[in-house]
Symmetry: C2
């Protein structure tokens, strides 16, 4: 933070905004710091890391438009403390920008995150939503997620299960997702929401094995302006896995907003042991 | 090709192998050339471009393991002729490698493809396939795809529709996919198959509008060794779209092999006009 006013603003900000903040440094990179409140088992919550990748691009003065596609590959666990983000525009066309983003850490320095993104200017066109939002009980009638493992980040969210199989029959879940301390949804928080879905393997297998996301992919289906109308209401998530095989498994999810608007779709590949 | 023997081998090779070939040059990059047979409307077939990105990594002597995840962002139309591929290993762990790949063209040179990938060594583990392969008529009973637009690449494939809606009701298709000239399926051809699914918007809307893939994402669920058992049988593809809105739409697909093995899952974001 550059001065006392900024520091006061940060102190008043939502915990998510404080955690996702990045500071521009003279060499063109951005400096960030891991946040204890959004800590996972051995590294930060992946949704926070993905939001930081997006935030690095959003802070670049040459950025135009809104996120269209983001892929974040987790190359190594981010260690507690400082890290640096390098966001480089690889190509720009009239209405589209292509970005390459890395997060590095340590004296070498080592790449811990390898990411690419597309930003675009959205214009009115014909449209349709073929996916159908399933009906679900209200958030008030849904059970809040209580992690059994020592992770801090789930406490920063209010995730409620509207549908879950309790006998390993299937991995389909319906969840209501919002920040525990209410915050208006924007591209950054929506990005983090995309990684709030528990690894599907836990719904298929009684055994708890080490597991971690290796690649997170997000397609954004609304502009920042559209999203501004959402407010702080919960987002409705539909998540499902397709396969686990030889140490890798997938999952995909839809994130629905108000009035059956499909805000984002997301896919991830996870590594698991045994 | 470095000598007459290689040249003879290339002449005898399958057209796909000739098209996907890349030559190492002294500066560490690889040189490729667009192939007329795999030409789309104004640039190469995106599946061929994605296969070339993968091939660049496969040709690197330090590459270990098999593809786990690949994201290819199409930054600008590749022009007919020569191009250069730069594949850089961003990070390697014990059993995982992270790669960044760009394709550049022209004197500047300009980035036309911006891609990242994960390779991994696959080990036996617990596994399950939750996705269910739909039943379908045999390839012989399915109608072969005949493009109505002037594209060359579809003739290089034998794509047959086992299910398609003819009245814009839905975008769900079942297709049998193989190379027109039979070729054993490997990671490269499977990658190309992932882009053989027609843009879903054409199944939802009578109007033909300009459309193009901006981002292609592939999760590989089998090792190269597993895939070697598949042979040249057709792969069965299940593709579906979820949303089209303000110039961008998505689609996802499953690629099934013999004995109900889910070989790959793929997602893409497309740009469309009007």
């Amino acid at each position: 933070m550059s001065n006392a006013a900024d520091a006061a603003k940060a102190a008043a900000a939502h915990p998510f905004d404080r955690a996702v903040a990045l500071e521009s440094i003279p060499d063109g990179r951005l400096r960030g710091r891991t946040n204890e409140s959004y800590w996972n088992m051995i590294s930060p919550f992946g949704g926070m890391t993905a939001a930081m990748v997006l935030n690095a691009i959003l802070q670049k003065p040459e950025r135009q438009g809104d996120p269209v596609a983001l892929t974040v590959n987790f190359a190594a666990p981010i260690q507690a403390g400082e890290f640096f983000v390098e966001a480089r525009m690889a190509r720009a066309n009239r209405s589209t920008q292509h970005w390459a983003v890395t997060i590095v850490q340590g004296t070498t320095p080592d790449v811990v995150v390898n990411a690419i993104a597309i930003f675009g200017v959205r214009r009115p066109t014909w449209g349709d939503t073929e996916a159908v939002r399933p009906s679900a009980p209200d958030p008030e009638a849904s059970r809040r997620f209580q992690p059994t493992m020592p992770m801090r980040w789930p406490a920063m969210y209010d995730v409620r299960y509207a549908r879950v199989s309790n006998d390993n029959t299937d991995s389909l879940t319906h969840t209501w997702i919002r920040d525990a301390e209410p915050r208006n949804v924007d591209c950054l928080s929506l990005t983090a929401y995309c990684d709030t879905f528990a690894p599907r393997i836990f719904f298929r297998r009684p055994l708890l094995v080490p597991v971690g996301t290796v690649s997170l992919n997000i397609y954004y289906h609304v502009s920042a302006e559209d999203l501004a109308h959402h407010g702080s209401a919960p987002v409705f998530g539909v998540a499902h896995g397709q396969v686990n095989r030889k140490g890798y498994g997938d999952q995909h999810a839809q994130l629905w907003g108000q009035e059956n608007t499909l805000l984002a779709t997301t896919h991830q590949m996870l590594w698991y042991k045994e």
